[in-house]
């Protein structure tokens, strides 16, 4: 196979262009049927069919068919009638579940009670209620399983099983066989904490609402009666209100008091300070009036104030929780295991050990398709290794005895024997992740700046209240209390403190439903101010995988025939080019005598004729024909197909634009953002992709440090930079950018660093995030303007004694409700606006690179 595609590509570029590339016939791609299981298109001529419920159903792949067969065999075919959404495409991952058994002893996640084992699982692929039914019913029937319960809201499950009867891996495999994936996770880490917080917040909110309603009931008779209530009844109502207000203040409002106490201890003024002061002052005065039997009471305003604030906090908490849960499910860590060679030169016997137990000097076997468990040196075998995690480069690198490999890279072709030089925490990948984690930790401090702006308002407010009290003490001491409270209540920065969180919570909820999760609250704010969008090329703007771009034949074969031969030759290879070829066609001829020559290509016999597919010079060697001249396009890799009589076809492979890339660039332009492309790749391919995406500004051959400098340079020019990246090599520039985004396929580390994580593969959703953020801040500005205008009018009125405390409380409540209602508009974020991109040219890109919707995606 092609171990050094780089060299091949350079050669391709050097060659003269002889003929224009011919795009693949669109008929090849026409797919009418959709998969009964997952609704993906069914490839034409597919034979994946199954009779279900008396009807022939078509499936897109063997995976979906297998899942449907399992479901039918278990007698749960009802699932298809019950479901309200199509199922997720089952993953085609290697069966690696047994490694969970190996590391089960190391997993602190398993709770043991004698024979019983209990574990929390994270479920992927749950789409609708029927999924819960299917998963629960099916898993409960696995022998040895005692209980299996799914939480639909959090996509978590609790599994209880009997250890001697069944292995954890067999349960995980059973879950995989019906199309879901389950990963053990540690619920104590964050979840237990969040659950306790959520429960206490919910109770506080409910109690506050209850108190608010009941106190209102007691206040209304006083408000509506024309000639005042009987003094006796009045006292009774006051005492009853006090009893109800007490838990509201002491229990429900406790978070505000503790928040204010923390603020004061740290010598800063947060929003909690005036809130706590307002609640305490109004409650103290009302309680005093009640006990003394005369004076104004504000129990209704106090309880309403507490309830409204708590409702806003609860909504915000729910949105944050959902985002956190989704991110945790992305960043799950799989247990790493290694095949250690026990008595190397004598036998090739291996034992499976957790990767963390490896020590320098150990010999490990890395089979094809496996992840390298530790840093080391190759001592046997030749293969190509993909280091995408470390350098963001999707092309594999050739490895031979003597070359070094890094933990976290993936072995693509044939087994390697590696001598470990560094394992566990001392690997390069672990060091890198610590570096990124430290950079990420330093960031939230910057976010505190937003709080400081609020402090100014709070300080001014307290000054006004104090000034009012002083002035009235001099003017009319009998009215000091009433007027000062009116000022505190009316200006209680309710609207102000609700303006931002309510809008952010509503937006986080609606964006979250589209899979866009703002990890940091101020990320949306920064995104709305962004003036420059920097996009990483490989894996972000592009799909990051190699796809077949075009086939040119010499005329002796048609394209379909050439493709069928190529697919036959590439059967069984894990090389990216082989994957690309296979995903381009459903049909294959039958090949025998298959030989893979590392670094050159594959050779095989089909219907008695010997073919070669690979490097042009090597392919030409089969028929002793002179090396053919080759046409070339920048950013593409070309291989030849030939037989003994010469060359038959050219195949060009390239990375193609990711779905929605053009729309994103268009949307960013429409919102007034400049767009640039950075990449560590060569100039030709960066230029090629930039041209396809319609991006004019680009930087190539950029090291991670150069990318960071590029972002810093833009910031020096005064730009607010938003950056989208995927690999660890993007991490420094993502940290440098004012706001960073990562897509679903980004490395876990990058997602932890990013401010916003889009749990989708579609760049259009990033466009939605951009326009959504703009809308959020339009609403926040409206809210703040309203709160400010209201305060400017109400505070002078209250300070001069023209506002009765009741009117102040009503005004405060009305303005809060207005603010929340305005924010609520954001919970419906419009679908992606096609008009924003209608003026963008699309033609060039789609013509040059047909978008292959590969069935493996």
């Amino acid at each position: 196979m092609l171990a050094e595609p780089r060299a091949l590509n350079d050669q391709a570029i050097a060659g003269p262009s002889s003929s224009a590339p011919v795009a693949i016939d669109p008929v090849l791609r026409s797919r009418l049927e959709t998969c009964f299981h997952c609704a993906e298109p069914v490839p034409s001529g597919s034979e994946w069919r199954l009779e279900l419920d008396g009807e022939q159903r078509a499936f897109c792949c063997a995976g979906c068919l297998g899942v449907a067969q399992t479901i039918r065999a278990a007698g749960l075919g009802e699932f298809y009638a019950k479901r309200t959404a199509h199922a997720a495409l089952p993953a085609r991952e290697p069966d690696e579940w047994s490694r969970y058994d190996v590391v089960a002893d190391d997993l602190a996640l398993v709770v043991r009670h004698g024979d019983r084992r209990e574990i929390s699982l994270l479920l992927e692929g749950i789409r609708c209620g029927a999924c819960i039914w299917l998963a629960e019913t099916y898993v409960r029937r696995v022998p040895g399983v005692i209980d299996f319960a799914v939480n639909f809201a959090t996509r978590r499950a609790r599994l209880v099983w009997r250890a001697p009867d069944t292995a954890l891996s067999s349960v995980l495999r059973a879950i995989a066989s019906i199309g879901y994936r389950a990963y053990p996770y540690d619920p104590t880490r964050r979840e237990a904490l969040a659950r306790r917080e959520g429960r206490s917040l919910l109770t506080r909110t409910a109690v506050a609402l209850l108190a608010m309603m009941q106190v209102m009931m007691f206040s209304i008779p006083v408000y509506v009666s024309r000639d005042g209530v009987d003094p006796g009844d009045q006292r009774l109502l006051d005492w009853a209100s006090l009893m109800l207000c007490l838990p509201a203040v002491l229990y429900c409002a406790a978070p505000f008091f503790s928040g204010a106490a923390t603020d004061l201890k740290l010598r800063r003024l947060g929003m909690d300070v005036p809130v706590a002061l307002g609640i305490a002052a109004a409650f103290a005065a009302s309680a005093w009036s009640t006990v003394a039997g005369s004076g104004p009471v504000y129990f209704d305003s106090v309880t309403m104030f507490i309830a409204l604030l708590l409702v806003a906090r609860y909504i915000e908490f729910r949105a944050r929780e959902r985002a956190g849960a989704a991110i945790e499910s992305i960043a799950r860590d799989r247990p790493q295991t290694a095949e250690r060679l026990t008595r190397h030169p004598a036998t090739r016997e291996t034992e499976c050990v957790p990767a963390s137990r490896l020590a320098p000097g150990d010999l490990v076997q890395v089979s094809a398709g496996a992840t390298v468990p530790a840093d080391g040196e190759v001592i046997e075998g030749r293969s190509s290794v993909e280091e995408a995690l470390l350098n963001g480069e999707s092309w594999p690198r050739a490895k031979a005895p003597g070359s070094s490999v890094l933990a976290g890279s993936v072995n693509r072709e044939s087994p390697l024997t590696v001598r470990v030089t560094a394992a566990g925490e001392s690997t390069a990948a672990a060091a890198l992740s610590r570096l990124v984690a430290r950079a990420a930790e330093a960031r939230p401090r910057v976010a505190r700046l937003a709080d400081r702006a609020a402090a100014g308002f709070v300080a001014a407010l307290l000054a006004i209240a104090a000034g009012t009290a002083l002035a009235w003490a001099w003017l009319d001491p009998s009215r000091v209390l009433a007027v000062t409270f009116a000022v505190l209540v009316v200006s209680c920065p309710c609207a102000l403190s609700l303006a931002t969180p309510a809008a952010l919570a509503a937006a986080a909820g609606s964006l979250g439903r589209r899979g866009i999760l703002a990890v940091r609250a101020d990320a949306l704010e920064t995104l709305s101010r962004a003036t420059h969008l920097v996009i990483d090329k490989t894996g972000t703007l592009t799909a990051g995988s190699v796809r077949l771009a075009s086939i040119e034949t010499t005329g002796r074969l048609d394209r379909e025939q050439a493709l069928a031969i190529a697919v036959a030759l590439e059967q069984g290879s894990t090389h990216p080019i082989a994957t690309a070829v296979r995903s381009a066609a459903a049909e294959a001829a039958l090949a025998s005598e298959l030989i893979a020559v590392p670094g050159q290509g594959v050779e095989g016999v089909i219907r008695g004729r010997r073919y070669r597919l690979g490097r042009p010079a090597w392919v030409g060697g089969l028929g002793d024909s002179p090396p053919p001249s080759e046409p070339g396009n920048a950013g593409e890799i070309r291989i030849a197909l030939g037989d003994s009589s010469g060359r038959l076809a050219w195949m060009s492979f390239g990375d193609s634009l990711r779905e929605g890339a053009l729309e994103l660039v268009g949307a960013a332009r429409a919102l007034g953002l400049a767009v640039s492309l950075v990449s560590g790749d060569r100039r030709e391919s960066v230029e090629h992709m930039a041209r396809l995406a319609g991006i004019t500004q680009h930087a190539s051959d950029a090291t991670p440090e150069a990318k960071r400098a590029f972002v810093a340079e833009l910031q020096r020019e005064g730009h607010v930079v938003a950056m989208i990246g995927d690999g660890i090599n993007d991490a420094p520039s993502l940290a440098q950018a004012d706001v960073s985004l990562a897509l679903a396929n980004a490395s876990a580390l990058t997602q932890w660093t990013a401010d916003i994580v889009a749990a989708t593969d579609d760049l259009r959703d990033v466009g939605v995030a951009l326009s959504g953020a703009r809308r959020v801040f339009r609403v926040i500005r409206q809210n703040l303007a309203w709160a400010l205008a209201y305060n400017l009018i109400a505070i002078p009125l209250a300070a001069t004694g023209h506002l009765h405390p009741l009117a102040a409380a009503l005004g405060m409540s009305a303005s809060s409700i207005l603010v929340v209602a305005n924010a609520w508009r954001l919970s419906r974020i419009a679908p992606f606006d096609a008009r924003q991109t209608s003026n963008e040219p699309r033609g060039t890109a789609t013509e040059a690179l047909p978008e292959w919707k590969s069935s493996t995606s």
Binding site: L52, G54, G75, G129, F152, A206, V207, F218, D233, A240
Partner: protein, 61 residues
């Protein structure tokens, strides 16, 4: 309106009772999953299957 002296304390007591009941329901985990039960109640093991076997048939292994 002497009855108020009974009814109002009663309403306060009732409010406390509701609060306590709510606290108990939250603490016992009834609010942890607000979506699942809505689906689960509709999806009982009650039906037919396409293969003609009852939904409660044991799996082969």
């Amino acid at each position: 309106m002497e009855i108020l002296y009974l009814l109002i304390p009663l309403s306060v007591a009732l409010a406390f009772l509701i609060g306590a009941a709510f606290w108990w329901s939250v603490a016992s985990g009834q609010f942890d999953d607000l979506e699942g039960p809505a689906h689960r109640i509709l999806l009982d093991d009650d039906g037919w299957t396409d293969s003609g076997t009852a939904a409660t048939t044991k799996k082969d292994d």
